[in-house]
């Protein structure tokens, strides 16, 4: 009971340590989500519309990548960015940037795979109309992405959920350094192992609240969009 009360106290009094962790978590996950969307949405749309040899294989690989274990991604990025790795000279290991790279790699396949399915379904509906209107490939992709925008919110939410909830990759490439690369999930893992349950529970409450609020916001935006755009 004492632990719960002090956790709530930390949250309600705006404990600076706690909110620094929350802020870093949001910056890392939302930045990774933005990069993953920039990669995943056009890639998914192109896969939905362009036929080429080996396309089926690419789709299977992409779907498989959705289930890639975060620790494996963490390990791969660690090897890339470590001093002796091919990108070691960038000096990014144990920085928030390394965490963003790892989460981008983790989330992009999710967004690409869900986008491909969404765009493919919409293309089946629009194909005849856009072909009859003589719409070129670039405008075709732009039209489908724009018209699928409310469905794509679901893909973005799935990506954000995966990024925000993830520990394995960012603890490997970020190092969980206090005040620099410590996020909500890595802090919860650490504080729980140390026995400081107040901070762990407080962070858990904030993480849950953020995920609920973002989902509610996205749901509302989607309903509003559907109402006004059909």
């Amino acid at each position: 009971m004492d632990t719960d009360a002090s956790a709530l106290h930390l949250v309600l009094t705006g404990d600076p340590g706690l909110y620094a962790i929350v802020l870093l978590s949001l910056v890392v996950s939302l930045t990774a989500l933005a990069f993953a969307a920039l990669i995943g949405i056009p890639l998914g749309a192109a896969l939905a519309l362009v036929r080429f040899p080996g396309r089926e294989v690419v789709i299977v690989v992409l779907n498989a990548l959705m289930g890639l274990p975060p620790v494996v991604i963490g390990l791969a990025v660690f090897l890339l960015l470590s001093r002796s790795g091919p990108l070691g000279s960038w000096g990014l290991l144990f920085t928030p940037q390394a965490m963003i790279i790892a989460q981008t790699i983790m989330v992009a396949p999710i967004i690409a795979a869900l986008t491909r399915q969404t765009i493919e379904d919409l293309w089946a509906e629009y194909r005849d109309e856009l072909t009859a209107m003589n719409v070129g490939p670039t405008l075709r992709i732009a039209t489908l992405i724009w018209d699928a925008r409310f469905s794509l919110v679901t893909a973005l939410l799935a990506g954000f959920g995966r990024a925000a909830a993830e520990v394995g990759a960012i603890i490997i490439v970020g190092g969980n350094i206090d005040g620099f690369t410590r996020t909500m999930t890595t802090a919860i893992a650490l504080e729980t192992s140390k026995g400081d349950l107040s901070l762990a529970i407080g962070l858990g409450m904030v993480l849950l609240a953020i995920i609920v609020v973002i989902n509610a916001f996205a749901w509302g935006a989607r309903r509003l969009g559907e109402h006004f755009a059909g």
Binding site: E129, A132, F228, G230
Partner: protein, 240 residues
């Protein structure tokens, strides 16, 4: 911006469309000439939709040749089609038309005026901002017609435009088609409704199992059908 040349007449020369062993169209030779609407009739699976898609250039013939005003492989500059179940883009009624105008490279400065004119023509003024997918079936059909007309076609292909519409909505569509045809646009439409064929048609083409059974001016077709299939179809018998 109007394309420089017309797509009419459309000539079918021994056109077949084959899917495996199945002939969706089987050796069609016909001329779709400028003038009053051409109405395609026939039972389900007769090949009406396939013929319209070939005329639009959406399906290439497996055999034979199609020409538009003497040109083969003509891009769909001056033709437009309204499908039996048109897909509404997920945007407002006005934005659906704006999209078609942009795709047809209509001058930007005239687009708002054209949208208002087209919505008025199809009786949808006041519904500009309504999401297209929230319109009723009849309204969606009229919006699809406006979207097709945004291409400023001289050949307008309509695939059963009044299927599943009530009489009032059917009349609204027929009135629009009459007014469009009166402006010199060549209309080719398919229908199951013989009454509609009489009301709309300049000439009637009866299709059955992918073959053109008879093609004649509307009065002649109904008064003096030449083929047994046409006589039976007009008499309301089932062609199977």
């Amino acid at each position: 911006m109007r394309a420089p040349s017309s797509d009419v007449p459309v000539e079918f020369e021994d056109v077949s469309v084959l899917v495996g062993p199945l002939a969706l169209l089987d050796g069609i030779t016909m001329r779709i000439a400028p003038g009053a609407p051409t109405v395609l009739i026939g039972p389900n699976g007769a090949g009406k939709t396939t013929l319209l898609r070939v005329a639009m250039g959406l399906i290439a013939p497996s055999r034979g040749r199609v020409t538009w005003a003497g040109r083969g492989n003509a891009p769909p500059g001056r033709r437009a089609i309204v499908f039996q179940r048109p897909a509404m883009l997920r945007r407002s009624a006005a934005a659906n038309i704006r999209y078609a105008l942009a795709a047809a490279a209509a001058p930007r400065a005239t687009r708002s005026e054209r949208i208002a004119d087209l919505l008025a023509l199809v009786g949808l003024s006041g519904l500009e901002r309504r999401p297209a997918r929230r319109l009723s079936g009849g309204e969606q059909q009229r919006l699809a017609l406006a979207r097709a007309l945004a291409r400023d076609p001289d050949l307008l292909l309509l695939d059963e435009p009044t299927a599943s519409l009530d009489p009032a909505a059917t009349k609204a569509i027929e009135d629009i088609v009459h007014s469009v045809a009166a402006r010199g646009v060549k209309v080719v439409m398919s229908t199951h409704d013989l009454g509609q064929a009489r009301r709309m048609g300049g000439d009637v083409a009866l299709l059955h199992r992918g073959r053109l059974i008879e093609h004649a001016p509307v009065t002649e077709f109904f008064a003096m059908p030449k083929t047994e299939e046409a006589k039976r179809f007009i008499a309301g018998e089932l062609l199977v």
